[in-house]
């Protein structure tokens, strides 16, 4: 469960996120959409406790991210933008570090790693330095890191960016498989992805929510019935300004 109330963030004169409120419940897979610079990543950074909000609050499974940061972060799996990882480490070493940091030990850690490695299909590259891996494998290492402790809340910033169609398919299957009892938010540019796995689509523009509905409902708003037409229609009237903010 994620409860976002009146979340606001300014960077100097630019308002990146403006008074954003949103509740995501277990079982929902929320597709977070918007043009570049709309405030998607900034929102995710605040929800995961990386950036402090200027105003408003975020609660993860009932824990306030600012006043009860560690408890909130414990229930959270996060794939940051660009899937950063320590390049000199192997996926095995990296995941074992994440397991230690998350206070998993012994059998529990071993099973968690096994599950994450199988889920992200990392078996073939377990002992190669991460910096030598292809973009697709690096993304999957980041994904494995996020799901390692079987978190209640998953926040994935562009989880399928850089993957080939087969890998995209596999990651979507993985997300769909976890969706039943988890709260999942994914940001993406791929509207087909939203139609494939999301139960709800939220479009933001200039830090504000401009649409919030199921993908099918949204698509029905355009005469063509296509989601990308709706997306363009909703977000283009002030693209020039949004582009400058990016």
């Amino acid at each position: 469960m994620i409860e976002i109330q009146n979340l606001t963030k300014h960077f100097g004169p630019v308002t990146a996120v403006a008074n954003l409120s949103l509740t995501v419940r277990p079982g929902e897979v929320l597709g977070f959409l918007g043009p570049n610079g709309a405030g998607k990543s900034t929102t995710m950074k605040m929800v995961t406790g990386y950036l402090a909000p200027d105003d408003g609050s975020v609660r993860i499974c009932g824990h306030d991210i600012v006043s009860d940061t560690l408890a909130a972060q414990r229930t959270l799996g996060y794939l940051p933008e660009g899937a950063p990882a320590y390049g000199e480490m192997t996926p095995r070493g990296f995941l074992s570090f994440i397991a230690h940091v998350r206070q998993l030990a012994g059998e529990e850690a071993r099973l968690a790693m096994q599950r994450a490695i199988a889920g992200a299909e990392l078996k073939a590259v377990l002992d190669q330095p991460i910096e030598t891996l292809s973009k697709g494998f690096r993304r999957r290492v980041g994904l494995a890191q996020a799901i390692l402790h079987d978190p209640d809340v998953l926040i994935l910033d562009e989880p399928t960016d850089g993957l080939d169609p087969n890998q995209k398919h596999a990651v979507r299957d993985l997300i769909r498989g976890m969706a039943r009892d988890k709260t999942i938010v994914i940001s993406t540019h791929l509207l087909e992805e939203v139609e494939a796995i999301c139960t709800r689509a939220v479009i933001i523009d200039q830090g504000r929510i401009v649409a919030d509905a199921t993908p099918a409902e949204l698509a029905a708003r355009a005469p063509s019935g296509r989601l990308d037409d709706v997306f363009r229609q909703i977000t283009t009237r002030d693209t020039a300004v949004a582009g400058a903010a990016a």
Binding site: A52, Y78, P80, A85, H100, V101
Partner: protein, 244 residues
């Protein structure tokens, strides 16, 4: 401890994942030897002690320790792992302290590997091993102080070269703040108490006190509070500059 250990262990191992550890230790030992035997005329002095050896430590640390510290945070910032690290359920103080202790332990390892010179001097004569032990402790503390400065500066930038150069300059000021080069600048306008305060920050003065064989509580407090101060600043900078 449960938070500190994983951060410490990862950071310490990362030195050995690349040739960095090997290169650093080789250069450290080579430079120590070269300074002591060639510049310091270790054999010609005819005295069985290591004061020449320890006398060069501040100057070697001045360049080598910032090289060790520069990547601590700048690299995390540049590669984006900062965001990963700081959204893991670990308190910020534990992350800052764990990384610092890993670098300090590595510096300690390099220092320990200078033991052949201790064997040499014991073979050649009868040195005061108490003084040598005190000097090693002092050298290790001083390395920690240089490291805390380097770590703090590294946390303010994503550029390792900038982190290195600024750290060397700041470390240099702390090293020589007891010398006339710095004190003459202050003496012209500042009250005597300030001049004394500035000179009391000198690493050279505190280190020289310890290498004379006396581990004075005041020198220990000086190095530990300096480390504490810079690590606290490190924490503030990381927290404040997360978004940038």
């Amino acid at each position: 401890m449960k938070f500190l250990w994983p951060v410490f262990a990862r950071e310490f191992k990362s030195y050995f994942a690349t040739p960095l550890a090997f290169v650093f230790i080789m250069i450290f030992l080579f430079a120590m030897g070269a300074f002591t035997f060639y510049l310091g005329h270790f054999y010609d002095n005819g005295v069985a002690d290591l004061s020449v050896f320890f006398g060069y430590h501040p100057w070697l640390y001045l360049f080598l320790v910032p090289a060790l510290a520069m990547r601590l945070w700048a690299e995390e910032r540049r590669s984006g792992t900062m965001e990963l690290l700081l959204t893991l359920p670990v308190p910020l103080w534990a992350t800052v302290l764990g990384k610092f202790l890993a670098a300090w332990a590595f510096a300690g390892l390099a220092l320990l590997l200078t033991f052949p010179i201790w064997i040499t001097v014991n073979y050649l004569g009868n040195p005061d091993n108490g003084v040598i032990l005190a000097s090693y402790v002092g050298s290790f503390l001083m390395a920690g102080a240089y490291l805390s400065i380097g770590a703090c500066i590294s946390s303010a930038t994503s550029n390792q070269v900038i982190a290195f150069i600024v750290s060397v300059v700041v470390c240099f000021l702390f090293t020589i703040s007891g010398s006339s080069l710095v004190l003459d600048v202050v003496r012209g306008w500042a009250p005597l108490s300030l001049v004394e305060a500035v000179s009391s920050f000198s690493f050279l003065v505190h280190f020289a006190a310890i290498t004379s064989g006396v581990i004075d509580l005041r020198d220990l407090i000086f190095f530990f509070s300096l480390i504490g101060l810079f690590l606290y600043a490190n924490t503030l900078i990381v927290d404040w500059r997360k978004g940038g």
